[in-house]
């Protein structure tokens, strides 16, 4: 346990001491929250478009922010592999599970902090925008986002294990863009229909966003979205654990 805690602490410090993590994981999502609320003010009520209303937007922005955490866990693990730091640690009594949990735990803590900050900002914005938001609904939305956090962290670890520190961030950027687009953060997927709706439904991002949105509204639909997100999180986690273990084994037998 000591090994996991020590390595987790190191990874936590590495991530919070990188100024870019504040910019991307907090600054960017919060700016989008404010900007999209301002955009929402310019949309006439008769259009019936509520996608940018703070009660709808906050869940999507929280998912958008978590996608950046994927980038940071990916960068940390890819950098460790590229340098001799992991070589040093491979020669210590640390096992593959210690490494996996050491990367996952601090990022999960950061995800919780990020979700709390996003929803706190949403609460303040809702008060200034005069939109009613149920605090208990927000709490449920925070809980509904936890499987998505696991999924994004596992994706980050997977890419950081498979790709170099130069190629991995590019791939993460593609996932961030695709995730925010196909997650229905910026448009109403149901109203779009067709092939786009089918793609959105097949991927986890739309369900991550809607798990939070529907939890906030105490809707039973939440369970369906949550179940799909949990399944994706489980599958991605299992794949990333297998890939990391195999890569570590390959690294130390080569």
């Amino acid at each position: 346990m000591n090994k996991i805690l020590s390595f987790s602490k190191r990874n936590f410090l590495e991530m919070i001491r990188d100024p870019l993590s504040y910019l991307f994981c907090l600054g960017f999502p919060l700016v989008m929250l404010v900007v999209m609320t301002l955009v929402n003010d310019t949309i006439p009520e008769e259009t019936g478009m509520t996608i940018f209303r703070i009660d709808s937007l906050s869940g999507g922005i929280a998912v958008f922010g978590m996608a950046f955490l994927m980038l940071f866990v990916c960068l940390t693990s890819a950098k460790d592999r590229a340098g001799a730091f992991l070589t040093r640690l491979y020669a210590t009594p640390m096992k593959s599970g210690d490494f996996i949990l050491g990367y996952t735990i601090p990022t999960f803590i950061l995800a919780i902090l990020q979700i709390l900050i996003t929803f706190s900002a949403s609460f303040i914005i809702s008060k200034t925008a005069g939109v009613e938001i149920n605090v208990f609904g927000m709490f449920l939305a925070c809980l509904a986002l936890l499987p998505s956090a696991v999924m994004f962290i596992s994706l980050g670890l997977l890419f950081g294990t498979l790709f170099s520190e130069k190629s991995a961030p590019g791939l993460c950027s593609v996932i961030i863009s695709l995730g925010s687009f196909l997650g229905g953060i910026w448009f109403d997927v149901e109203k779009t229909g067709g092939i786009l709706e089918i793609i959105c439904n097949a991927l986890p991002f739309y369900h991550s966003v809607n798990a939070a949105r529907t939890a906030m509204k105490f809707s039973n639909e939440c369970f369906e979205h949550l179940a799909i997100t949990v399944c994706y999180a489980l599958v991605v986690s299992i794949i990333s654990v297998i890939v990391f273990k195999n890569k570590m084994k390959a690294d130390i037998s080569d």
């Binding site: 000591n2 090994k3 190191r10 001491r17 730091f85 070589t87 040093r88 020669a91 009594p93 130390i252």
Partner: protein
């Protein structure tokens, strides 16, 4: 008891034999230098001795523990300072040392005591609160060695510890290594003749994955018929090496 042993240790890659059937015996408390040009197989040999690479054939042991079948035991007995500076860049000197203490499961009190000891030994007091990424190459190497040493290993592997350092930083690091001599077994890889000559009790000269000669400096001089390590090295290189020096 021998601290490190290798018998017919070989590492083959698809098209290259990196280490070709080497035999080593390093006694407890000895400082043993693996000397060779770049690509001679020194780092690959160290990787196998530190459980970071599996031998294609042959066996190696650390304190009588097989490096393949008793990896967990071996890892508790060794410390390694890799060729590239292996420190956590965004952590301070103290935090880096604390990380290693945590990995080895030391209590808070022991950790504090060990960090003070390493800070004193490596004279790192002035930089103990500086982040690793702000340190000079010399300080980073010192930190890297301190991180390898803080777990009190029986065998310390120093892979090209002074590579890329200026002459002053190199000499300062040598004096630190000299302080450690006799206290623990040290395996040092280097391609600097002066370094091996000054620090090592015994030296093995490697060419193309093979050990051309091993022994004390005077034994190597006698076998080569030359005076000084550099002259002896050149003599063996001409005899064994198809490699360029």
């Amino acid at each position: 008891m021998n601290a490190v042993e290798a018998h017919g240790l070989t590492k083959k890659y698809k098209t290259k034999i990196a280490v070709d059937g080497i035999d080593l015996e390093v006694k407890e408390g000895e400082l043993f230098a693996l000397l060779g040009v770049n690509g001679a197989g020194k780092t690959t040999a160290v990787r196998m001795l530190t459980c970071l690479s599996k031998p294609t054939s042959g066996e190696c042991f650390v304190c009588e523990n097989n490096c393949v079948s008793r990896q967990s035991e071996v890892k508790k007995l060794i410390g390694i300072s890799p060729q590239d500076t292996a420190v956590a860049e965004n952590l301070t000197v103290t935090e880096n040392l604390k990380l290693i203490c945590g990995i080895y499961g030391y209590s808070k009190a022991v950790t504090t005591e060990k960090i003070s000891e390493m800070t004193r030994l490596f004279r790192m007091g002035e930089v103990k609160n500086s982040r690793a990424k702000t340190l000079s190459g010399g300080w980073k190497r010192k930190l890297s060695i301190a991180m390898a040493l803080i777990s009190e290993p029986k065998v310390l592997f120093l892979d090209e510890p002074t590579l890329g350092l200026d002459v002053l930083a190199r000499r300062e690091l040598w004096s630190v290594v000299e302080q450690l001599k006799g206290r623990i077994t040290i395996i040092l890889t280097t391609h600097y003749m002066e370094e091996a000559e000054r620090l090592a009790d015994r030296i093995a000269i490697m060419f193309s994955g093979k050990i051309a000669v091993q022994g004390t400096l005077s034994e190597i001089e006698r076998l080569s018929g030359k005076t000084g390590l550099e002259e002896s090295f050149v003599e063996f290189a001409e005899k064994y090496g198809k490699e360029r020096i």
